[in-house]
Amino acid sequence: MSDATATAAVRERSSDDQFVLRWSSREALKHAVLIVGALIVLLPFYVMLSYSFKSPSEIMTNTGGLIGLQEPFRDDYCVKLGNAAEDCMVTPVIYNYTTAFGKAPLLRYLFNGAVVTASIFFIQVLIALPCAYALAKLKWWGREFVFSMVLFCLLIPVHAIALPLYIMLSKLGLTNSYAALVIPWTISVFGIFLMRQFFMTVPDDLIDAARMDGMNEFAIIWKVMLPTAVPALLAFAIFSVVAHWNDYFWPRIVITGNRELFTPPLGLREFKGDADGDNFGPMMATATIIVTPLIVAFLIAQRRFIEGITLSGMK
């Protein structure tokens, strides 16, 4: 509570340009409400991080504060393998994180996640950018029809049609492959819509000048339009990467059993499936590792991220 009042000690510029420290109870009340909210929001992050540091007994008894005492404990599994008890003493934080990487091929999952999200984004751009350019800057028969098709497709959430997509992919024998993870997301009508709106604002003169210089339409897209669209593309990239790194529903459906193809959320889910009492620490370590890349990127480039994630609201 003292934090709240302290932060509410607000500097205000008074009329004769002096800084005055003023305590405002209204301001303090606002901070109090927001701090309570922040504590609830942060609670699971605290639990996740804290438990990824602690030993099983500290987790069970809920002791040890944020990072635990880091007293070595006996790894029973190691003892079961026939090692002497004194060789099996492990430090909780090291045990949790090494087990996270050792028990399941977590690095492989992270790699899969990176490959899948990167492929999805590049294919989306490759498909959407030329289409958006043609819709915004070229005149051709059927343009209105294609644009209304885009507007119609904006209504369809891909998750909702997962079942027919799954049937189609399994008829093609493509389930349990990278292709299955990527194909449904290759077309982003939202990306087309967004880029089209952006290209509408690019002056025609720029394109005409490029044509005068003898550039063909392909070159115009990649050498003229692409560079002008970088801010919008960046926002779209963040939008796309966050959605697909965190996606669980679709991978869950098309990847069955083959660990080699697991994305990070699937890996964590399987970990949870066979976790017993001793494995909560490593499980929380896995969760931390999966969640960290995006959170850190977000903290570094907040403005861009918020722009990207809320992109869908910019219509």
Binding site: L34, L43, I161, L163, F249, M283, F305, I309, T310, G313
Partner: protein
């Protein structure tokens, strides 16, 4: 304008994919919903409206609709309201507003599946931090609250496995995850409210903060609200990660958390009942498309772009 035929090359891939990945599946789902198709059994029978009849008569699906609409009915108003509240508070702060914004946005970035597993842990009846924290309040003034006293005397709720609490707990996690997103949209909306309007309102006699909100802020946020409500609705309809993480089998205590996406997954993917899965898909798409069309209609009617 170019007279080349380049546009064909630019548009053809996108149009083909739109048709194959987005439109064709809807048609397939519509057709399959009238059959008893299952994978590996190609002799599908036409069953007429039987699948739909089941959805609207069997008690399992009644529970599915109740769970889905309860979830949507809780998550949409709460996460929109909290999003707006947080945005207004943060916007009126002199300092540290950005800090709260960052914190409230964190859940939007984190993989929901991972956070669901953490929540399950935090809500664990015996070793979870939530009930342990509640227990520390026993013996204090809080015990005057009957619910609290009962928790102290016996046990605090089994949040996720008690059927009286399960759907609300899952909905709470939905709110926790989503309101930061709405907050950011509202903050963006607030920056576009012209300052002069507040001055004008004040001259017209709007003295209190509530008057200013009612007369200026809320109407000006109309377009944002339409959008925020729609997108929150669509997202909440699609809830799956938390439900699957907590209840891999069966959709929670007495199927009280048996939401539609989970039903599609269970029927079609786990039990290979493609016909019924397709019928739920069609009903689901109906809801979602209706909502989006409503939004577009509202936007076209009410919103004026400057």
């Amino acid at each position: 304008m170019a007279r080349s035929r380049a546009h064909v090359w630019f548009v053809a891939p996108a149009v083909t994919l739109m048709f194959v990945i987005l439109i064709l599946p809807i048609l397939i789902a519509a057709v399959l919903s009238f059959t008893d198709y299952s994978l590996g059994n190609d002799g599908a029978q036409y069953v007429g409206l039987k699948n739909y009849e089941r959805i609207f008569t069997r008690s399992t699906y009644e529970k599915m609709f109740i769970a889905t609409f309860t979830y949507v009915g809780v998550v949409v108003p709460l996460s929109v309201g909290l999003g707006l509240g947080a945005a207004l508070l943060i916007n009126s702060l002199k300092r540290f507003g950005d800090l709260y914004k960052t914190i409230y946005f964190l859940p939007v970035m984190a993989a929901l599946l991972a956070m669901a597993i953490v929540w399950e842990f935090a809500l664990h009846p015996t070793i979870g931090i939530v009930n342990k924290t509640l227990a520390t309040g026993c013996g204090t003034v809080l015990e005057h609250w009957a619910w609290y006293a009962q928790g102290c005397a016996k046990t605090f709720p089994l949040w996720l496995t008690d059927r009286n609490y399960a759907i609300w707990t899952v909905a709470f996690i939905g709110v926790w995850q989503g309101f930061g997103f709405n907050m950011v949209l509202y903050l963006a909306g607030l920056t576009s409210v012209p300052r002069e309007l507040y001055q004008a309102a004040e001259m017209d006699g709007a003295r209190t903060g509530w008057d200013r909100f009612r007369l200026v802020t809320w109407p000006m946020l109309g377009p944002t609200t339409v959008f925020v409500v729609t997108i929150t609705c669509i997202r909440s309809f699609q809830v799956f990660d938390t439900v699957e993480a907590f209840y891999p089998q069966g959709g929670g205590p007495s199927k009280s958390v048996y939401v539609m996406m989970f039903a599609i997954y269970e029927k079609a993917i786990q039990q290979n009942l493609m016909g019924i899965g397709a019928a739920i898909t069609v009903v689901f798409l109906g809801f979602v498309m209706f909502l989006t069309l409503m939004q577009r209609w509202l936007v076209e009617r009410r919103v004026h772009y400057s």
